[in-house]
């Protein structure tokens, strides 16, 4: 070749920049699996497609798909959903994908690849990403019909087809993939067995105790596990197709056998063309993924680095990045091995393994926590000096994985006793702050993003988790590291002098809690007064609604009285929820979800009269969409006359108190959950708070009202009410904590009074109770002291304040429709009574909805 191609002289990497070929070279990628696709993406990201024409030879009939998520195929049966190739990706100039194209031979001398169809393709650079093949143990009869492996979508299709005629399925191999396969067979409705030669399941990742617990858990799910069992032969069965002979008169009859006993590198092409291989297979690569032929790379499970095969996708991705970087003459990153720690959910059981899980390091000592009743096993392995974490095994509860992994990977001095890392309950485990992590710390293992890379992105201007995700891919795959990414962001922004404060906005140098106290102590009654005394500027769309909420929490004036009207977000101003076309939705209060037929008919009649789109909400009420601003008062007039009140669906306030039917009808009901829900909803309706509040009351411990996912959850027992607090559903689910048990009706109300008012006093803007509790110093114990033991001596005050809010309640819609001046504001035009002339609807499923942009164009053309 006519130009110096010094790419592979690893001795002086920085000099190679600029040695990218000037004319386009040909790259052949053999294999289009997860790692192959990542290689293409990395090459494209680095601008490599300007310099290389890449032809991809894929033996399978489908382009790259998510092999890690293969089991999903059994439930979803949607191959496209597993695809890893973004729409339009292969249309980029420089990429040619050949499906169902298997390579027969590599001629390194001629730099030509010959396919099984006889096609000859020449190359300048060759990338082997052929992956691995499932190891099938050399057992007599392993080639009988209905014996499968578990690797490709085609394998799965065959298993699914065979399962139709089968009753029993058996997996040979109790490792990670074997258990995945077992789940698949189980989901297909087969009586499922797992046969494992080793004394325990997941022998590589977990130890005997952990493996034993895992076995118990998996057996409890209906899968029979045979450990210490080797198969000698497979012969015809009597009841079923096969009989697996285990020796000593032990045997198992089964219809289907799936071999999942490990993987072997798919290195036959490399072997045939004389590339250097390891003793037990695998194509030998250096730190730059280059094989013994400088023009051939190997990446993924086919590659052998320092005598090791990496059978996980994350190291494969790192190799793909490395090879792409080398082709683009970038010296970084090189491949430096990979951590094989794993965390996964197997048949609903959390299992994780970190570092030296078996304590093989000389002098290693371990601490173990084992609770058979809850099914939790945790082990940490520490160094001889007791200061460093070497490894860990977690079964049944893997919440500590992230923390332990960082401690282990970064060799950080342990924050306390090793046992405290896994000890349950007695206070929170010592957590690792983001500051303690070195720059090399890997924060996102899916996409191999280090803390240093996050810091660099922050230096380049990233200021939100969203920014970081977009430019580094951190937390873009499994999302497990999102909390850690946020911690790094906050601490790094603070270091850079970007003030991370809890000031509500530029107009008030105070937190919401501080503003609350300023308002209360200073008896401030209006926003203007607050701004004059404690703020600057004109205010904004952050501080105005906040001030309105605080003023309402403290003094509970009519929210649309003149001094407050200009503070309200449009939802509060027009007492409805603005939808995407600028119209509003209407949600009348239906306390406890109990409604008479007459009232239900009124809702139906109103919806019909105004052609409102009607939907039942998750909070047991009815949402009517599509009311124009000038229609709101007349609609609400009808509703108020029929006895409805506003549901405050627009406000940061109590939404609903969901209930099950309880002892009113239910044969299991212990108490009157509906009656209590109505009482509670009527008590706290209209209460303005830092964020919306949801509650529920269940009539027995079957918990049909899902009270434990609410800010306040009440569950009846035969001894009284159990009160749960600070739960959440939605985007960030949190199971509620039990605050107190066995309350009488009266105690229940008093406790909720105190709890809610304490939250309103101390929470930040838009902070739900769940996040508030997590940030409350002292946590649940402190909350119990304040609420139950009255440790701050404010119990009476909290109750009195709540009583004042309750005494001054008014239905904002009733007040509004009775006030002609207030009704006047509900107009679209100040100078005309007509409606907005730019609303367009289409009918769908018998109701109307706002037209989408493309439909609007069509509609306007038709109307025009």
């Amino acid at each position: 070749m006519g130009f110096a191609f010094t790419l592979f002289n690893s001795w002086q990497a920085e000099t190679v920049k600029g040695d990218i070929p000037m004319t386009k070279q040909k790259v052949l990628l053999v294999g289009h699996g997860m790692v192959g696709q990542r290689f293409l993406e990395a090459l494209a990201d680095r601008g490599g497609l300007d310099h290389y024409d890449v032809t991809i030879l894929c033996a399978e009939s489908r382009p790259a798909y998510d092999r890690v998520g293969l089991t999903r195929y059994f439930t979803e049966r949607d191959a496209d959903a597993l695809s890893l190739v973004p729409d339009g990706f292969m249309a980029q100039p420089g990429l040619t994908l050949k499906l169902s194209t298997r390579v027969r031979e590599i001629d390194r001398h001629a730099r030509v690849v010959i396919t099984e169809a006889g096609e000859r393709l020449d190359y300048d650079k060759l990338v082997l990403a052929t992956g691995s093949y499932p190891f099938v143990p050399p057992i007599d009869g392993n080639d009988r019909p209905n014996c499968f492996v578990y690797r490709t979508l085609d394998d799965l299709d065959e298993i699914i087809a065979a399962a139709d005629q089968a009753r029993i399925g058996t997996v040979v191999g109790g490792g990670l993939l074997g258990l995945e396969a077992a789940k698949a067979l189980h989901d297909l409705g087969l009586e499922t067995h797992v046969v494992e030669f080793a004394p325990r399941l997941m022998a590589v990742q977990v130890d005997d105790l952990g493996g034993g617990l895992l076995k118990d858990k998996i057996q409890a799910l209906g899968v029979t596990v045979h450990t210490n069992t080797g198969t000698r032969a497979i012969v015809d069965g009597e009841q079923h197709r096969h009989r697996m002979d285990f020796g000593e008169d032990r045997h198992l009859e089964t219809d289907i056998i799936v071999f999942s006993a490990g993987i072997r590198p798919e290195d036959s092409l490399a072997r045939a063309c004389g590339l250097e291989l390891g003793e037990r297979g695998g194509v030998v690569i250096d730190d730059y993924c280059v094989t013994s032929d400088p023009d051939i790379f190997a990446i993924g499970e086919v590659a052998l680095w320092q005598g090791r095969i990496f059978g996980l996708v994350a190291p494969g991705y790192q190799m793909a990045e490395t090879a792409a970087a080398r082709l683009c003459a970038d010296s970084e990153p090189s491949f430096q091995g990979a951590d094989m720690s794993t965390k996964l959910k197997l048949m609903g059981v959390d299992v994780a393994s970190v570092g030296d899980a078996h304590g093989q390091t000389p002098g290693a000592r371990s601490a173990v926590f084992f609770d058979q009743s809850t099914g939790v096993y945790k082990k940490v392995v520490v160094s001889e000096c007791g200061r460093k974490l070497l490894g860990a095994v977690l079964v049944g509860d893997a919440n500590d994985y992230g923390n332990l992994l960082q401690l282990c990977l970064n060799q950080i001095d342990l924050p306390g006793e090793a046992a405290a890392l896994i000890a349950p309950a007695a206070g929170d485990a010592p957590m690792l702050g983001a500051d303690a992590l070195p720059d090399s710390a890997q924060i996102c293992s899916c996409n191999n993003v280090s803390k240093g890379a996050l810091c660099a992105a922050i230096d380049d201007g990233a200021t939100t988790v969203g920014d970081l995700k977009a430019c580094t891919k951190a937390s873009a795959t499994c999302g497990g590291c999102a909390a850690l990414v946020k911690q790094v962001l906050d601490s790094e922004l603070a270091k850079r002098g970007v003030e991370v404060n809890n000031h509500v906005c530029e107009h008030f140098p105070y937190s919401r809690q501080e503003i609350y106290h300023l308002v209360r102590v200073g008896e401030i009654k209006t926003f203007d007064e607050l701004l004059e005394k404690h703020g600057s500027g004109d205010g904004c769309d952050i501080c105005k609604p906040l001030a309105a909420s605080v003023l309402a929490s403290c003094w509970n004036d009519y929210v649309l009285s003149k001094p407050h009207a200009s503070l309200q977000d449009t939802n509060d101003y027009f007492l409805g929820n603005m939808q995407r076309d600028g119209t509003y939705s209407i949600v009348p209060r239906v306390p406890g979800g109990e409604i008479t037929p007459d009232k239900l008919i009124v809702l139906g009649e109103v919806a019909k009269k105004y052609d409102l789109y009607t939907k039942i909400t998750g909070g047991q009420r009815v949402d009517l969409f599509g009311a124009r601003v000038e229609q709101l008062p007349e609609i609400w007039k009808i509703l108020v006359d029929a006895g409805f009140e506003t549901g405050h669906a627009y406000g940061k306030s109590l939404r609903t108190v969901k209930s099950c039917v309880g002892s009113t009808w239910c044969r299991y009901g212990v108490k009157d959950s509906v009656g209590t829900a109505i009482q509670v909803e009527d008590r706290y309706k209209g209460l303005r708070s830092p964020h919306k509040i949801k509650m529920a009351v269940s009539g027995c411990t079957r918990e049909c009202a899902e009270a434990q996912s609410k800010d306040v959850g009440v569950i009846a027992t035969d001894k009284g009410w159990n009160l749960y607090v600070c739960g959440n559903g939605g985007m960030r689910p949190r199971h509620a904590d039990l605050l107190v048990s066995d309350l009488s009706d009266q105690q229940l109300i008093r406790t909720i009074d105190r709890f809610l008012m304490f939250y309103i006093r101390t929470a930040d803007r838009l902070q739900r109770t769940s996040v508030w509790l997590e940030n409350l110093e002292g946590g649940l114990d402190y909350l119990k002291q304040v609420i139950l033991d009255d440790s701050l001596g404010i119990g009476d005050e909290l109750e009195a304040q709540m009583q004042q809010v309750i005494d001054t309640y008014q239905c904002e819609w009733k007040t509004t429709v009775e006030d002609p001046q207030a009704v006047k504001r509900f107009k679209h035009f100040v100078n005309d009574d007509v409606a907005d002339d730019n609303l367009h609807y289409v009918r769908e499923r018998g109701q109307r909805r706002p037209a989408y942009e493309h439909e609007r164009i069509e509609l306007v053309q038709q109307e025009g």
Binding site: H507, D538, A565, D569, F829, N838
Partner: protein, 113 residues
Amino acid sequence: MNSSVTLEWKAVCKVDEILPGTGVGVRLPEGQAALFRTRDGQLHALDNMDPFSRANVISRGLLGSLGGTRVVASPLYKQHFCLETGKCLEDETVSLTVYPVRQRGELVEVAVG
């Protein structure tokens, strides 16, 4: 046609029909405007159509200031538009038309055409 730009002033409402610190929608011969009265009594008029949602809702946005720029926040997706220039603070490529506005006696007039 006279090509010189002549402003035609159109009276739209009385000034006390707009609560200080809020806005109202105004019907113009062609289209809609959002008319605002700030806390200190200044008047501003912008397009009523929110370019991000294509809904006529700008008049229902909250007024405020950001770094000294007086703005209105779209009630749907919360972008801020400068009351003086109509420019969107979050996206330079987007701006709202600004209509000249004046007060004559009790009446507020918006210039059209």
